[in-house]
């Protein structure tokens, strides 16, 4: 029973591994990325007993992964500052505009406050305001106000860079 549950868990994590990957890129430096990845998966497995399937596995995964990244006690290792170009794992075989832009976006998001980082991440992942509010424990109004503010900030960062 335990083994089949474990197998199901591993399958689901593999299916949605992109979530972990993106969060680690946002919250950890190159050296700590694997540590955070490990911590997220470990915490998810610990919390898996409480997953009753009322919410989608993906939504549940967003919740646990973000909570782990935000509450990680390895404060020295979890970054709240800027990621350098080298620190973001971007494939370098064929550099193009899209690649440069996503690199820029990651770098700008990493400059944000850790809560804002989480909110904009969920927004970009197409979570609804209701879902974001539910995960963070904020009001929907607060979420919408903050998203407008963060998007404005990101646009400004892009504009400054381009000008």
């Amino acid at each position: 029973m335990q083994e089949s549950r474990k197998e199901y868990f591993v399958e689901m994590v593999l299916k949605h591994k992109a979530i972990i990957y993106k969060i680690c890129n946002l919250y950890a430096s190159e050296h700590d990325r694997e540590d955070l990845e490990q911590e997220i998966i470990y915490q998810m497995w610990k919390s898996f007993a409480g997953f009753k399937g009322e919410s989608k596995f993906q939504t549940w995964m967003y919740r646990i992964s973000l909570n782990t990244a935000l509450l990680s006690l390895r404060s020295k290792k979890v970054r709240h500052s800027t990621l350098t170009e080298k620190e973001i794992e971007i494939p370098h075989e064929a550099p193009d505009i899209l690649e440069t832009n996503i690199q820029e976006l990651y770098r700008h998001i990493s400059k944000l406050d850790k809560i804002d980082k989480g909110i904009i991440f969920l927004y970009l992942e197409k979570c609804s305001y209701e879902e974001i509010a539910g995960m963070m424990g904020m009001s929907e109004k607060n979420v919408s106000v903050r998203i407008v503010r963060i998007k404005e900030k990101l646009r400004n960062m892009f504009n400054v860079k381009n000008s």
Binding site: V10, N25, Y42, L71, L98, N101, D113, I115, L124
Partner: protein, 238 residues
């Protein structure tokens, strides 16, 4: 939700990134078998360490019962301390379980932080007081065992004894408290950021962290000085 340019960039830009991700079944199984994080391990070790201190206290206090069997005042004191040690030992089990409970992340971020803060303000605070006294009990029970003067425990300078004991209690409490101070401050700041919709709490905390670092260095230096002083006195005494 309306699709915007940032969302579009995020979706398209991440496609390549995700495909390159190196994560397979074996890696996940390895992670599942790994141990808890450094911070939670530290707290677990702390509880286990002080649990053993209680065990030593119980043994030492029980040994003293025979040595002071004709001294009713000492017997009552020892009985009180023994009761305290057993209580602390049981409380250690409770706090270990409570700690496991607050480690679960299956909830809203704000709820998790509130639960953790409540734990650090109540259960953990009681634990700090209990382990502070139990460290003093360890030193006291060792003292009464060594200095047993035919069933009597002579205190030559009561004022000095009280002052040293008070200083010791305060020092142990503050050292333990310091260990969780930054963690509590960080959680408070994050919670305030979430609740008020204001940013900057977590940022202003960074400045405080530097001060705490200096406080930590100062306490370590003091601890080393105390240890050296004790060692020199011990060597001179022998």
């Amino acid at each position: 939700m309306e699709k915007d340019e940032l969302m579009d960039l995020w979706e398209k830009g991440n496609k390549d990134l995700v495909e390159k991700q190196k994560m397979d079944k074996d890696m996940i199984y390895n992670y599942l078998n790994s141990k808890a994080t450094t911070a939670s391990r530290y707290f677990q070790y702390n509880i286990i360490f002080f649990w053993f201190i209680q065990l030593i206290n119980i043994i030492l206090l029980s040994m003293n019962f025979t040595g002071y069997s004709n001294n009713p005042t000492m017997l009552w004191t020892l009985a009180g301390l023994l009761f305290f040690s057993v209580f602390t030992m049981l409380y250690g089990i409770r706090i270990y379980m409570r700690y496991q409970d607050i480690q679960k992340l299956n909830n809203k971020l704000s709820v998790i932080i509130e639960k953790k803060l409540k734990f650090f303000r109540t259960s953990h605070e009681y634990w700090l007081i209990l382990i502070t006294f139990s460290t003093w009990i360890l030193s006291f029970s060792l003292g009464v065992l060594i200095d047993n003067d035919g069933g009597k425990y002579p205190i030559n300078n009561k004022l000095m004894f009280t002052a040293i004991s008070m200083g010791m209690l305060l020092f142990i409490y503050l050292t333990q408290k310091y260990g969780t101070m930054i963690q509590i401050k960080t959680m408070k700041a994050t919670l305030m950021d979430l609740q008020q919709g204001l940013m900057g709490e977590t940022r202003s905390l960074e400045k405080h962290k530097k001060r705490f670092k200096w406080l930590g260095i100062l306490m370590t230096v003091l601890l080393i000085l105390f240890a050296l002083y004790g060692l020199i006195r011990f060597l001179n005494f022998n």
